[in-house]
């Protein structure tokens, strides 16, 4: 598969930088490029400025777009690159490459979709939920995190979901327990026909197992550390069963991040194939 054909390298203006709980909401103006952004696509951002010792871009899922040429990112300032980004002031011009990667496939007919998010992995699901809702689908959203502060669920985003369920491992918000524990029931109860997921790899793997048991389609946005985001470094590979039946290491920046959860070889992630 080639690189996302709409990807361009531009200087984008940071027009808003707001703290939301433990995360930052960053809004970038990317002009006409916004037309090409699909739910699931990501952006690779140069961090640290000219004299930085950080030489690699940081990749972030795009959570939403709007027709005024802006995109929203939800960033957790955990590492030195994301901390630098979250410290940038409004009006900063930042070197970005976007839109990159595959997007979530949208069913051609209205259906019931179950969206499963872990931590700030929930962010791109809100943009997806809006698209699904516009196309007449019902959206059941199940979000989980270790604790309430790490749940990302903006008020405006909630409107896109027919039902929103929250799970925390420490019981500080919503129901207590893991989001994946509730999935078999949610699928049955709402007759969900497709699952979309985004979050930590362990969660995606658990969702894949449930989707396989219930025999429903599952598209997940995978996460593997990447150096370039444009398919040239070969670091972000995921073992995947291709259409020929062969298991190959595919680049998550080009053949992903959205991949068919049934075909990702979860038991081989991090293993020699």
């Amino acid at each position: 598969m080639p690189i996302n054909k709409n990807a361009s390298q531009i200087l984008a203006t940071l027009i808003s930088n707001r703290r939301i709980g433990v995360y930052h909401q960053l809004i970038f103006e990317i002009g006409d490029l916004v037309r090409f952004v699909r739910p699931g696509n990501f952006i690779a951002i140069s961090v640290g400025g000219d004299s930085s010792r950080m030489i690699l871009r940081r990749a972030f899922a795009i959570s939403r777009t709007n027709d005024r040429g802006t995109i929203e990112l939800i960033v957790s300032p955990m590492g030195s690159g994301s901390r630098w980004l979250c410290s940038q002031s409004e009006g900063s011009r930042i070197d970005v490459v976007t839109p990159l990667g595959t997007g979530f496939g949208i069913p051609s007919e209205a259906t019931t979709a179950l969206l499963v998010g872990g931590g700030y992995g929930s962010a791109p699901l809100f943009g997806l939920a809006e698209v699904l809702k516009t196309r007449g689908s019902r959206v059941i959203m199940a979000l989980g995190a270790s604790t309430a502060a790490k749940i990302y669920a903006p008020i405006e985003g909630k409107r896109a979901a027919t039902l929103l369920k929250i799970y925390t491992e420490d019981g500080s918000a919503g129901e207590s327990g893991r989001v994946t524990d509730s999935l078999p029931n949610l699928i049955e109860e709402h007759d969900a026909r497709v699952i979309y997921s985004c979050g930590p790899m362990a969660m995606l793997e658990a969702v894949s197992q449930i989707a396989a048991e219930k025999d429903i389609a599952h598209q997940c946005a995978v996460e593997e550390s990447m150096a370039c985001g444009i398919g040239i470094c070969m670091t972000c590979v995921i073992p995947f069963k291709t259409s020929s039946g062969e298991i190959k290491n595919l680049r998550s920046c080009i053949d992903g991040p959205v991949m068919d959860g049934e075909l990702v070889q979860w038991h081989l992630v991090g293993k020699q194939i």
Binding site: M54, M234, N249
Partner: protein, 312 residues
Amino acid sequence: MTLDFGTTLGGAWFPAPIFTASGCASSGKELAQFFPLREIGAVVTKSIMVKARAGRPTPRMAETPSGMLNSIGLQGPGIDAFLIEDIPWLASQGARIIVSIAGETADEFATLARKLRGISGISAIEVNISCPNVENRGLVFACEPTSASEVIKSVRGIVGGELPILAKLTPDVTNIVTIAKAVIDAGADGIAMINTVLGMVINTETMLPHLGGKTGGLSGPAIKPIAIRAIYQVKEALPEVSILGMGGVASGKDAFEMILAGASGVSIGTASFGDPSAVYRIQNELREILTSKGFKSLREAVGYAHRSRGTD
């Protein structure tokens, strides 16, 4: 006065002196979205092996101060698929092509050379005898003059005088000049240097080596002084031999420094990860620097740092 920007490597002529680095441009398609491939010196393709190879397990990379470690382990489609899919596409773009090859034995290198002989549109072969991401350090042919020359001899024997051969060397040796002399004596037309430097990162959370392959190759600006030193030493010992230099070049100024040390061409690797248009940008920056310094040709600047002080 227009600058003569052309260069010669091992007898092959290129209209511009900036190249991609093997393993940092895949087979060129991805970068073609950011600049026209035909305008750079050549695309040096990812080292290709006889058979398809899955490479090492993830994690495959770790960013380090001004650098990164990679542990890919030569993932690739194998020579047959590469010749069918990648070479014709690059040729259709008007790109000049240097094919990088890697093998586990001298015989495998010979097999690869046999497949490449007679393929039109290839400007040169880079013989990668120095990939650090292999299980057995004994397989890093370029660590030892005898094994390095054995590989070069077998490739030379197959391609005859048809295609220039560049031997890719590692700086992880006591005396790189000894290795350079050995590969030139064995029939290499030029030297490509340096490959990544063997390194390791230990994850302080898991308290285990971070990379799936444990060790990896260090690249990026952190290794540039090592590259400059190695190129300077080889140019000093073998002034007639052309060098394709690489190692941490991220700007036109870095490329200029490498040319002063003795490189006739410069490959851009890790910089492309951080900036997809780096190859093109650096080439333009270099052109401006050479012009502003008053050089009439790139050739005049090659090895210019070797003159004695006060001879301007």
